[in-house]
C-alpha cells in the first residue's frame, strides 16, 4: 500500500522529482567516469611495454623519454647520434638494441622508423610479441607496416600507397610525396600505441629526408633524388647510414646488469644520453598521476554528496506541504513509522533511479569519448568493462542515499507524531 502511495506521490511531483533524479544522475555519472578513467588509464599505461630492460634517448627527462618513445605522447627535444647507437651495440652485456626514429606522421598517425629487430624483440602486456594480421614485415625501402587502428581508421589494405608527412601535426602539409610508400603488412591489435603507429625501415626514413638536410626541402638537387629513385628500384641497396635516431630499446644478457649498464650509458662522454628502466619510470609516472587522480576522485565524491543532499533538501521542503497528507494517513490508522517509511521509500526510489540514469550517462559519455582518447592520448577505454571497485562505489552511493533519506523520513515521523489528526498552526 505504501509503495502505491509513494509511486503516486512521486508521479504527482514528477517535474521536481525528475530534476532531483537528474542531479543525482549527473553526480553518479561523474564519479563513475572518473573512476573508470582512472583504472583504464593505469591499465593502458601498464600494458604498453614489457621485456625491455632499458630505453635510451637524449638527455631530456625520464618521464618524457618514456612518454614519447613508448606512448607516442609528446615529442623528443633532441635526437641522439647513430654513432652512439653503434657504440652501445659493442657493450658486452647488450643482447639486443633496437633503434627508433620518430618525427614524421601520416594523417595524424606517427611514423616510426626502425629495423626488423623491433618485430623480434618488442613485447607488450605480459611478454606478448607483435604478430601480423596480414602481409609481412618491411624488407625493402619504402615499405610500411601499419598498426591495427591505422588500417581500420583510414581504410587501408596491404598494397595501398602511403605518403608520409614531415612533422607530427594532425595535417599533412609538407609531404614526402616524391617517395611514396607501399603498405606490406598490418599488425594484429595490441591495445597499445603500436596500433596507432606506422612502421617503416630506418633506411627508408633516412632516404626521404635526404633532401631535407637544412630543414627545407630542396627538390632540385637531382643527384640525391636520383639516388633515392635508384634505391627504390633496388631492394636492399645501401644508402648512407642514418645520422640520428630518437631512442633505443635495449635488452641485456642478464637483467641484473641493468643498473650498471644504465650508469655507464648515462656517463658516456661521447654524447649526453639518458638510460631509463621502463618499469621504474612507469611507477614514477603513476605516482605523479596518482596525485591528480586522488584529487579528481575527491571532487567527484563531493559532487555525489552534494547531489544526495540536494535530494534530501527537495524532500524536506515538501514536508510542510504534505502535513495535511500525513494527517490524513494518521486518521486512516497509519503508524508514525509508516509515514516515515513513505518518505524513505521515496528517497530510495530517487537514489536508485539516479544511479541507473547516471550509469547510463556514464556509458554514453565514455562511448563518445573513447575513440578520441585513443587517438589523441593512447588511452584505450572500454565503456562496458565494469570493475569490482565501481560496483563498490555504486553500493556506497546507495548507502549514502539511504542514510540521507533517513533525514526526511525521521522528520516526517516526528511531525506526524506531533501533528496528530489536525494541524496546529
Amino acid at each position: 500500500m505504501l509503495l502505491q502511495i509513494a509511486r503516486a506521490s512521486l508521479w504527482n511531483r514528477r517535474l521536481s522529482v525528475g530534476l532531483t533524479i537528474f542531479t543525482v544522475a549527473i553526480s553518479v555519472a561523474l564519479l563513475l567516469s572518473v573512476e573508470r578513467l582512472r583504472s583504464e588509464t593505469r591499465q593502458s599505461f601498464a600494458s604498453t611495454i614489457s621485456g625491455t630492460d632499458l630505453i635510451v634517448g637524449a638527455r631530456t627527462g625520464a618521464l618524457q623519454l618514456l612518454l614519447y618513445s613508448v606512448f607516442r605522447i609528446g615529442d623528443a627535444t633532441h635526437n641522439i647520434r647513430y654513432s652512439s647507437y653503434e657504440a652501445l651495440l659493442e657493450g658486452p652485456q647488450i643482447a639486443w638494441a633496437v633503434p627508433l626514429a620518430l618525427g614524421d606522421s601520416h594523417r595524424g598517425f606517427r611514423v616510426l622508423g626502425t629495423t626488423t629487430d623491433y618485430f623480434e624483440h618488442f613485447r607488450y602486456a605480459d611478454k606478448r610479441a607483435l604478430t601480423l594480421a596480414t602481409g609481412a614485415r618491411f624488407a625493402a625501402l619504402h615499405e610500411a607496416v601499419l598498426g591495427a587502428d591505422v588500417a581500420t581508421k583510414l581504410g587501408y589494405r596491404v598494397g595501398d600507397p602511403l605518403v608520409i608527412a614531415h612533422g607530427t601535426g594532425n595535417h599533412d602539409i609538407m609531404v614526402h610525396d616524391d617517395q611514396p610508400f607501399r603498405i606490406v603488412g598490418i599488425l594484429a591489435r595490441t591495445g597499445t600505441p603500436v596500433d596507432r603507429t606506422i612502421h617503416v625501415s630506418l633506411d627508408s626514413l633516412e632516404a626521404i629526408h635526404a633532401e631535407w638536410k637544412s630543414g627545407v626541402r630542396i627538390p632540385q638537387r637531382a643527384p640525391h633524388s636520383h639516388d633515392a629513385h635508384a634505391a627504390r628500384d633496388e631492394p636492399g641497396a645501401q644508402l648512407a647510414k642514418p645520422e640520428t635516431i630518437t631512442a633505443i630499446l635495449v635488452g641485456l644478457h642478464n637483467k641484473t646488469a641493468a643498473l650498471t649498464v644504465q650508469r655507464q650509458i648515462n656517463n658516456y662522454q661521447g654524447e649526453a644520453l639518458l638510460a631509463i628502466l621502463p618499469g621504474l619510470t612507469l611507477i614514477q609516472l603513476w605516482s605523479m598521476l596518482g596525485v591528480a587522480e586522488s584529487a579528481l576522485l575527491l571532487v567527484a565524491v563531493l559532487v555525489v554528496v552534494a547531489g544526495l543532499l540536494g535530494m534530501c533538501t527537495a524532500l524536506v521542503t515538501t514536508l510542510n506541504e504534505r502535513r495535511r497528507e500525513m494527517a490524513i494517513l494518521r486518521a486512516l490508522g497509519a503508524r508514525p513509522w509508516q509515514i516515515g517509511a513513505l518518505l524513505f521509500i521515496e528517497s530510495a526510489a530517487i537514489t536508485l533511479a539516479g544511479m541507473l540514469v547516471g550509469t547510463l550517462f556514464m556509458l554514453l559519455v565514455l562511448a563518445i569519448a573513447a575513440p578520441w582518447l585513443a587517438a589523441n592520448y593512447g588511452l584505450y577505454i572500454d565503456p562496458l568493462a565494469f570493475k569490482l571497485r565501481e560496483l563498490g562505489l555504486l553500493l556506497a552511493i546507495l548507502f549514502g542515499g539511504v542514510v540521507v533519506g533517513g533525514i526526511p523520513a525521521w522528520l516526517a515521523y516526528r511531525r506526524s507524531l506531533a501533528d496528530g489528526l489536525t494541524i496546529r498552526t
Binding site: 500500500m1 502505491q4 502511495i5 503516486a8 506521490s9 508521479w11 504527482n12 511531483r13 495535511r324 497528507e325 490524513i328 494517513l329 494518521r330 486518521a331 486512516l332 490508522g333 497509519a334 503508524r335 496528530g420 489528526l421 489536525t422 496546529r424
Partner: protein, 227 residues
C-alpha cells in the same frame, strides 16, 4: 454498552495546565451527536483523544468497551483504523490519488474494514454513486481536480467504507456553500443510518443542530476555564 464513553478525562500540553477536563461524555451506537465547539475550545484535542492519537493523562476514554488509556500507541492506531471514519473540514483526500483509490484507502490500513467491505473496488463505486457522484467521470482523475463539494462527498464515502461504528466529522460543511450544505448533510445522515454508524459532528453552525439526536456544548462540559 455505549459506543463511546468518556469519564473524568483530563489532558494538558503542559503539566498542571489542563486543556480539557470533562466529567462525562457518552455516545450510543447509531446516535447522532452535535458537538458545538468553536476553535480554541479544545475540540481538536478532544478529537485526537477520541481517535486514540493522544492518550489521556487522567481518566478514561472507552471505545467499544476498550479503554484507550491502557492501550499502546500501535493498538490505538489499529482501533482507530478499524472502527472510526473521519471527515475533516477540507483537504480530506490524497490529492494525487483518484477518487476510487482514496475511498479504498481505509481497507489498506484495516483488515477488519477490508473484510467487511468485501470487494473494496465495487463497494467504493457503490458508495460514490449513493453520494450522487458520477463515478465514471471521476475515474483516473487526481482528487485535487474535484470541486470542494465533490471532495467532501468522496471523503464521506471513504469514511464509511467497511462500515465503521463511529464517524467523526469535524466542520465538514464549513467550506461548502449553503446550497450544497443541506444536500451533503442529508446524504451523510442517510448513509450513516444505513451502515449503523454513530455520527459525532463538530461544528459551530447552530442552524444544523435540529437534525441531531443530541446537542452538547463543549465549553459547557469542559471544566477547564470555569471558575
Amino acid at each position: 454498552m455505549s459506543l463511546l464513553c468518556i469519564n473524568d478525562l483530563r489532558f494538558g500540553w503542559q503539566p498542571q495546565q489542563p486543556v480539557l477536563d470533562i466529567a462525562h461524555l457518552q455516545l450510543a451506537a447509531g446516535e447522532t451527536l452535535f458537538l458545538r465547539g468553536p476553535s480554541g475550545s479544545g475540540k481538536s484535542t478532544l478529537l485526537n483523544l477520541i481517535g486514540g492519537v493522544l492518550a489521556p493523562q487522567h481518566g478514561s476514554v472507552s471505545l467499544l468497551g476498550q479503554p484507550l488509556e491502557r492501550l499502546k500507541p500501535a493498538q490505538r492506531d489499529r482501533l482507530r483504523a478499524d472502527h472510526i471514519g473521519f471527515v475533516f473540514q477540507q483537504f480530506n483526500l490524497l490529492p494525487y490519488l483518484d477518487a476510487i483509490s482514496n475511498v479504498m484507502l481505509p481497507c489498506a490500513f484495516s483488515r477488519r474494514r477490508a473484510e467487511r467491505a468485501g470487494d473494496a473496488h465495487a463497494q467504493a463505486r457503490e458508495l460514490l454513486q449513493r453520494l450522487q457522484l458520477n463515478e465514471r467521470s471521476l475515474a483516473g482523475r487526481p482528487a485535487a481536480q474535484l470541486s470542494v463539494g465533490q471532495q467532501q462527498r468522496v471523503a464521506a464515502a471513504r469514511a464509511l467504507i467497511g462500515a465503521p461504528e463511529l464517524l467523526i466529522a469535524d466542520e465538514p460543511t464549513s467550506a461548502l456553500d449553503s446550497d450544497s450544505r443541506d444536500g451533503f448533510l442529508t446524504l451523510l445522515f442517510d448513509e450513516c443510518r444505513r451502515v449503523g454508524a454513530a455520527l459525532l459532528f463538530v461544528s459551530h453552525d447552530r442552524s444544523l443542530e435540529a437534525r441531531f439526536d443530541r446537542v452538547i456544548d463543549l465549553v459547557a462540559i469542559n471544566r477547564v476555564g470555569m471558575s
